[in-house]
């Protein structure tokens, strides 16, 4: 079976898997990284959203061979040890989560958005397609704005 080497949450990993296995199942079933969730398997619900070299992507639709040599960050790799990322912190302060299942993907999407667009407008936030079946959208919006305001007011974020 082919083996694939990439950086996962800051550490190099090598895993044996068929080339075309979606990264989501490599993460969940082979590496025990369960923060990225299965919600549809076709890139629609975006509950698995993670980062590839700092950019948002859906591991359910990316083959593991295409990760070779790249850096993958899941929700587990976002905080710096016990120090939460500013977006995670904003999520806590706004008490965003209900069932929580979509929230790893929502947070990773928000971080990517804020990297591209440091002060997003409502229209920018409207472009987020991640589904939250509990309907936490207004608090997601509030938390993104809070994180954005805090960053522009203080200091830059940790590097991806």
């Amino acid at each position: 079976m082919p083996s694939h080497t990439f950086v996962l949450n800051g550490r190099p990993v090598t895993v044996e898997a068929p080339d075309d296995m979606p990264l989501l199942w490599v993460l969940r079933d082979k590496l025990g990284v369960t923060g990225p969730k299965y919600g549809c398997g076709v890139g629609v619900c975006r509950a698995c959203t993670s980062h590839l070299d700092g950019e948002e992507f859906q591991p359910c639709t990316l083959a593991v061979r295409d990760c070779a040599g790249h850096s993958v960050t899941t929700i587990e790799g976002l905080a710096d040890g016990e120090t939460l990322h500013p977006v995670q912190q904003a999520w806590l302060e706004c008490d965003v989560a209900q069932c929580g299942f979509c929230q790893p993907g929502q947070i990773m999407t928000a971080v990517a958005l804020l990297r591209r667009t440091p002060a997003p407008t409502d229209a920018d936030i409207d472009q987020i397609h991640n589904i939250c079946r509990c309907g936490t959208y207004p608090r997601i919006r509030e938390a993104i704005k809070k994180a954005a305001a805090r960053r522009t007011a203080t200091k830059p974020w940790p590097k991806p």
Partner: protein, 764 residues
């Protein structure tokens, strides 16, 4: 310390192992009358550290006939003219509370030597925030730090009979008193243990921050006292829950206790569990609902990489593999033929015809008076919780364990045991947090499948439905058709008839048995469980002549189930649309028209607040409109005022929402606001765009791409919530908002577009 609490003197003669506690008669702001005086007994359980069980004294257990304590009438159950429904006397929530009475003494609170208070919760957490709410109640009553309170979900406990059902927005209503009683009983024993240790009068001690404090400054943490307190049968101070003015946490906006585990990805759902040896499993299913397997050739699939087994079960063909990807690929390689399901000849149009034909006729003929008639269609709606059904099962020769998110673990245990041919006591149900439910996890389809596959394959399995499985074979709010006729004259509504026809809702998760236990025997009354539920839950809140509402059911062999707010999600929406249309015909303002007819004054305050905060009646540009919706149920009442922009009628958007709610004693305002917000998004979705079609016995939609639950861009940037001051005991909040939010969206759409929407979702 401000939030410390003095222990008061013991009652003379208190000498049993039970703490009899009569709740303080509610004074202002609790203005509802105390009903039956219920004694909450706490029991000491034999355990190494302090373990208290709480409950309601059987000697004073009220009967179902009106003494449940919370008659929904304004003055202790006095019936008013025009009262339309059974819920005025006995509501569904009351029935659930009564059914839980005989076993609620088994609610267990444990104090560990590490100083943690552990409340074993016989309910499911699916995002409604219940674990946080219960932790707050415990922490407040115990004077413990919130971070010292743990609320694990209990395994299925058949001894609880009907008291382990998470449904009908009933958890807080049924747990509020017993949880506080348990915590008060524990606190009294901890104080007593400290008094004995220090040789001080217990009455002089205080409690704060998970410790007992002496006047001389000595401090003993609860952990240090837990062992000594475990043998104190009779506390030296009364175990009386705090009066409302001493509450320090209850009523304060509080973040979820599991929020950090969620935002770091550590929170575990069934699919994230690492049960040794449990292998990924998926199921090939027929194209039509309840289709059956014709033929199977699994030869290719069995040889594919990672495949560990192929097992036929009644619902399809299960494939076990080392990873879900391999299981899915092998599933797709199965060569199967399927026999069409029982509905294969039926599509939406045929279902609509059957619903229309099922109605009983109106009593009032149309020709005698002025009247308004309205007919409404609501489509099927999948529950679509984001976490697909997932269950881990480990079935051995003589025992079985199953892990999944269950609202009904006792019924699940009974059913799974029977299917496996094991005694009920040999099956353990581990209740795992769920990624949403909305009624879906009343049923345990995936758990039963997982148990059957594990038994057949002889190994533990982790069985997951795909999204497509859940859309095509999952459960749905049944389609319904509504026929409403209101007659009026001299500015008044004279009669109001509402005929409801639905595809039969499946309540086969123990509801009928529960209602029988509560003394309300649906079968004895010749009713189906669905009709009993309808009768107990549906109530028109307005004085509109003599309102009648009748349910007719069309039984179809398909998967239906209660969907957040159940019948009210369609019945009350149709009512609220009719209220707008009646107000228009009578030349009255829709809110004033409702207020003049509400039977209970509390509802008027809620409508007032929404109207004022929402600037009801403010001028709106062309293509935009405001809409109002009101609903009361489960001991609460709520009004939604929304503004909707339909300048592009194909892409209507709710741009603003103002919500006013009165839910009695609010435990966590932040959690309540989350529920009311979620209900708003549900309302936007089911009214404007999300539903399911049936084509030749199959569900058309397959994922969130075509089941169009709202995204960020469909929801309002501004949501404003106003909670009215505490007024009576806590109401149930999980479902309350859906009917009012849905109605507000429909009414705003009507006003923005100048149309009268009759079929929902509107863009379907």
């Amino acid at each position: 310390m401000d939030n410390a609490r003095d222990a008061t003197a013991p009652e003379a003669g208190g000498g049993t192992a039970q703490d009899g506690v009569t709740p303080r008669a509610p004074g202002p702001p609790h203005r509802r009358p105390p009903a039956a005086r219920r004694r909450f007994l706490t029991y000491l359980l034999a355990a190494p550290t302090l373990t208290v069980a709480a409950g309601l004294g059987r000697d004073t257990a009220p009967s179902a006939a009106g003494a449940v304590g919370r008659p929904e009438g304004p003055s202790g159950g006095v019936r008013l003219p025009g009262v339309s429904g059974v819920p005025d006397v006995l509501s569904l929530g009351d029935a659930l509370i009564v059914a839980g009475l005989p076993t609620s003494h088994l609610l267990v609170l444990e104090i560990t030597t590490a100083g943690h208070a552990v409340l074993h919760l016989p309910r499911l957490e699916v995002g409604q925030g219940l674990t946080t709410t219960v932790a707050m109640l415990v922490a407040d009553e115990l004077d413990a730090r919130l971070t010292d309170v743990d609320v694990p979900l209990s395994d299925g406990r058949p001894d609880l009979l009907f008291n382990q059902l998470t449904a009908a927005s009933n958890s807080v209503r049924s747990l509020y008193d017993p949880v506080r009683a348990a915590a008060a009983g524990a606190r009294a024993r901890l104080v007593t243990a400290a008094a004995q240790r220090w040789g001080l009068p217990a009455a002089g001690l205080r409690t704060a921050d998970s410790a007992v404090l002496a006047p001389d400054g000595r401090r003993a943490g609860y952990g240090e006292l837990a062992t000594a307190a475990a043998v104190i049968a009779t506390p030296a101070v009364p175990a009386t829950p705090k009066p409302p003015d001493r509450l320090r946490l209850v009523g304060r906006p509080t973040g979820r206790i599991d929020a950090r585990s969620i935002v770091t990805g550590r929170a575990k759902y069934a699919g994230d569990l690492t049960v040794p040896g449990a292998v990924p499993t998926v199921v090939a299913r027929p194209p039509t609902i309840n289709g059956t397997l014709g033929s199977l050739d699994a030869a290719t699939a069995r040889t594919m990489p990672g495949v560990l087994g192929v097992v036929t079960i009644p619902t399809g063909v299960a494939v076990l593999a080392e990873t879900f990807d391999q299981a899915l690929r092998a599933r797709d390689a199965l060569r199967t033929t399927w026999n069409p399901g029982p509905l294969a000849a039926l599509s939406d149009a045929g279902i609509r015809d059957r619903l229309r034909a099922a109605h009983s006729p109106f009593l009032v003929p149309p020709l005698l008076t002025h009247h308004v008639d309205g007919e409404f269609d609501f489509a099927f709606v999948n529950h679509a919780p984001l976490e697909v059904l997932t269950a881990v099962a480990d079935v051995r020769a003589n025992r079985a364990e199953v892990w999944f998110a269950s609202q009904t673990p006792i019924i699940a245990q009974q059913t799974i045991a029977a299917e496996l041919g094991l005694p009920q006591s040999a099956v353990t149900i581990h209740v795992v947090r769920g990624g949403g439910s909305f009624g879906r996890r009343l049923f345990f389809d995936a758990a039963l499948e997982a148990a059957l596959v594990s038994k057949a394959a002889g190994r533990p399995v982790k069985l997951m439905w795909t999204r497509n499985d859940d859309m095509r074979h999952g459960r749905m709010r049944p389609a319904s058709h509504h026929r409403v006729r209101a007659t009026f004259g001299l500015g008044e509504v004279l009669s109001y008839e509402h005929r409801v026809a639905t595809v039969r809702t499946d309540f086969g998760h123990g509801l009928g048995e529960l209602l029988t236990a509560a003394g309300f025997g649906p079968s004895a009354a010749g009713l189906s469980a669905a009709q009993a539920f309808f009768l107990l839950s549906e109530r028109n809140p307005y004085d509109v002549g003599v309102p009648t509402q009748l349910l007719s059911e069309v039984p179809l062999k398909m998967h239906t189930g209660s969907w957040r707010s159940v019948y009210s999600g369609t019945v009350r929406v149709a009512d609220e649309i009719m209220m707008d249309e009646l107000a228009h015909r009578l030349g009255q303002d829709p809110i004033a028209f409702r207020q003049a007819r509400l039977r209970r004054p509390e509802g008027r305050a809620v409508l007032d607040r929404a109207a004022q905060a929402g600037r009801w009646g403010r001028p709106m540009p062309a293509g935009q409109g405001q809409g109002i919706g009101y609903h009361e149920e489960n001991g609460g009442r709520v009004a939604y005022l929304v503004e909707l922009d339909a300048a592009d009628p194909r892409q209507p958007r709710v741009t603003r929402a103002v919500i006013a709610a009165d839910l009695g004693q609010v435990i966590n305002p932040r959690g309540l606001e989350a529920q009311l917000t979620g209900a708003l998004v549900d309302g936007i979705s089911v009214i404007l765009q999300a539903g399911n079609h049936i084509d030749h016995g199959a569900v058309r939609e397959g994922s969130y791409a075509d089941f169009r639950y709202a995204r960020q861009r469909h929801t309002p940037p501004t949501v404003e919530i106003h909670l009215l001051p505490p007024n009576g005991p806590p109401g149930g909040a999980g479902e309350l908002g859906v009917p009012a939010a849905s109605a507000a969206v429909a009414n705003a759409y009507a006003r923005a577009t100048g149309t009268s929407p009759r079929s929902f979702p509107i863009d379907f």
